[in-house]
């Protein structure tokens, strides 16, 4: 076992003391009960918006289900949700696999987003019904499915998103088994019964802990592999294949990386509100925000790298095809969304996160994260709204000869987008009523492996690194 001393710069940043294991169990189990009035008001508000969104989705499908050009905002929403709800659990996984100690207390919040992938699937349903088959009127449009049956994109993209949901939930469940045992031991009422049922006889033997570590690693790896694949299929089948001549090999990776950026931003927001309003300061240390800030900064820089890598190919290419793609995605009617995304996904977060003082606080960090999510929505709008605005009779052309006008959202689109995002927040908030918002055993493990120490004249945290 190796150890590592993490120095803190001043008295102000002295690491908080460790909390006893019994207090960790009792206080975190107690967070599932006794919601505040503010919490209930938010849940009610989000619930009503979610229902309005679902109703609007159904009405829109009945009213406009035969016109694919009206569904760009729903496609943008699915892309947004795939990025945020799909990307956030990676925050729970990647640093854990790298044995980072700071991430242990926050993996639960990130993995709760796995359940929100249900919303991505719900919103995908009308798109699958409306997405044209590969061959229409004897002509085959250009896709990755050049020899496949007509409805291959419909089947395989849906299956990929279902697999993402199942793997995400299994990742959550695998890591939550010891906490279900804690609920069985220390909770009351239906939570105790649920804990008993889901703990499946967990007692904490050495073999159970070893297999727990392995299955978290395995499901984390599977989750990553499926997430990248789901991003690839969605961007190609529900984005590029809808526009004649839009061929961009970097787009799926761009979509995935910006999804990681949004996932971290979503994780920071959830962490901030849990820490502040559930009084979890002694369990969620500032160290977690500093580390997430560095990760978010790196991903923000990656956004501009991937965007530029994609853009420069079309800009240098200058073929009619390339010019049409640039006009369609960037310079044309969606230029407002492009500049909004550029400013909010890259420039503002870069300028905010570059300052050490900001990354060491929480308030500006959470504001930066909100900015990133707004920017991401604009980015998905500038990609998917014009893609779905191309009339069905033009998608077999070699390139886009007429750039469609900007399609502005109608009341249904606005309700669906607000409802979809609200439903994600609603699900995550409701899940905190079922399981502790922080993983009990991981907070205990954090305390077991780290110790605040006096280091010469400063303070440091001594971290054990078991291999």
């Amino acid at each position: 076992m190796a150890s590592q001393a993490v120095a803190h710069e001043s008295e102000h940043h002295a690491p908080p003391p460790n909390v006893d294991a019994d207090m960790v169990a009792r206080e975190l189990i107690a967070t599932t009960t006794g919601a505040s009035g503010r919490f209930k008001a938010w849940v009610w508000g989000l619930g009503i918006l979610s229902i309005a969104g679902i109703v609007a989705l159904v009405i829109k499908f009945i009213d406009q289900g035969d016109d694919s050009t009206k569904w760009g905002y729903v496609a943008a929403l699915v892309s947004f949700l795939l990025s945020v709800a799909g990307g956030a659990p990676m925050v729970a996984m990647a640093p854990v696999m790298a044995k980072a100690n700071w991430v242990r207390p926050i993996t639960r919040i990130a993995s709760l987003f796995s359940f929100a992938s249900v919303v991505t699937l719900v919103m995908l349903i009308p798109l699958v019904a409306i997405l044209p088959p590969l061959v229409t009127e004897g002509a085959r449009r250009r896709t990755i499915w050049y020899e496949a049956p007509d409805y291959s994109p419909h089947i395989w993209t849906t299956l990929a998103l279902v697999m993402l949901l199942i793997t995400g939930i299994m990742l959550f469940y695998s890591a939550a088994l010891p906490d279900f045992a804690s609920m069985r031991d220390h909770s009351t009422g239906w939570r105790k019964r649920l804990g008993k049922r889901l703990a499946r006889g967990w007692v904490g033997t050495d073999a159970q802990w070893r297999t727990l570590r392995m299955r978290i690693g395995m499901f984390g790896t599977f989750y990553f592999l499926i997430l990248v694949f789901a991003n690839f299929l969605f961007t190609t089948d529900f984005g590029q294949s809808m526009v004649p001549g839009w061929r961009d090999a970097i787009l799926p990776m761009y979509h995935t990386v910006s999804g990681f950026q949004a996932g971290v931003a979503g994780g920071v927001i959830a962490l901030y509100f849990s820490r502040k309003y559930m009084k979890l300061e002694k369990f969620i240390h500032l160290d977690a925000f500093w580390s997430l800030g560095r990760l978010l900064f790196a991903l923000t820089l990656l956004w501009i790298y991937f965007f530029y890598s994609s853009f420069i190919v079309f800009w240098y290419g200058r073929s009619e095809n390339d010019i049409a793609t640039l006009n369609h995605q960037i310079k044309g009617p969606m230029i407002w969304a492009f500049f909004g995304a550029m400013i909010l996904l890259w420039f503002v977060p870069w300028w905010i996160l570059i300052w050490n003082k900001v990354r060491r606080g929480t308030t500006v960090m959470v504001m930066g994260s909100f900015v990133i999510l707004v920017g991401l929505m604009l980015d998905r709008i500038r990609m998917f709204v014009p893609a779905w605005s191309v009339p069905g009779d033009q998608i077999h052309e070699k390139w886009l000869k007429v750039i469609p006008e900007t399609y502005w959202p109608d009341i249904f689109d606005i309700l669906i987008m607000a409802g979809g995002i609200s439903l994600v927040a609603f699900i995550v908030m409701m899940m905190t009523r079922v399981v502790p918002v922080l993983s009990v055993w991981q907070v205990q493990e954090f305390n077991l492996l780290s110790k605040p120490i006096k280091y010469i004249r400063g303070h440091a945290t001594l971290v054990a690194k078991p291999d």
Binding site: M1, D20, A21, D22, V24, A25, R26, R140, I144, W145, Y146, E147, A148, P149, W156, L159, A160, M163, I166, T167, M170, S174, L177, P178, A181, S182, D185, H186, R200, G201, W202, V203, G204, T205, D206, A207, Q208, W209, R210, T211, L212, R213, M214, R215, M218, F219, F222, L225, I226, F229, L233, V440, W441, Q444, E445, L448, L449, A464, P466
Partner: protein, 168 residues
């Protein structure tokens, strides 16, 4: 019918002493184990490390999924031959997406099955246990077929400083 006793400790050091004591007293590896609410680093208690086969399950599932996907895509293309863009009927790039997805799907399903077997979950007879273990206490559980050894085990646990001993 086997019998179990559980010694409870508040600190890890005496629990590790109890594990050492049980080994020295001649208890066979695998008849005693440590129960914790937190994953201590491997070997922290000098505990017996059993072999596992968990990695075989996803590998086996992935091989099955890959084989099925090759079969599905190849047979479909051979059954309905269509030449597209001058490319061969059996074109690997057209098959890759389905091959990848089915490999992943079977790998995930096999991992779930593997977990059920390897974690011994659901554990219908969890045996002797104490709820304080999820509050940071450490349990040392010993299982016997021969009841004459119960006194020896209790002696070891008491000598190591067990705060409480439970019988089942």
């Amino acid at each position: 019918m086997s019998k179990s006793i559980l010694g409870l400790f508040q600190q890890p050091e005496p629990a590790a002493d109890a594990m050492d004591g049980l080994k020295e007293a001649g208890f066979e590896l695998g008849t005693f184990d440590v129960l914790t609410g937190t994953p201590y680093p491997e070997g922290a208690f000098g505990e017996y490390v059993p072999q596992h086969r968990l990695f075989r399950f996803p590998a086996f599932g992935a091989i099955i999924g890959f084989t099925l996907s090759v079969f599905l895509t190849a047979v479909t293309q051979l059954a309905y031959p269509m030449v597209t863009g001058g490319k061969p009927i059996m074109s690997i790039f057209a098959m890759l997406i389905i091959m990848y997805e089915m490999t992943m799907l079977a790998g995930v399903i096999a991992t779930v099955i593997g977990i059920v077997f390897e974690s011994r979950l659901p554990n219908m007879q969890p045996g002797i246990y104490d709820t304080r273990i999820t509050e940071g206490w450490i349990g040392v559980v010993i299982t016997f077929d021969d009841e004459s050894k119960v006194a020896d085990a209790e002696s070891v646990l008491n000598k190591a400083g067990a705060l409480e001993i439970k019988h089942a």
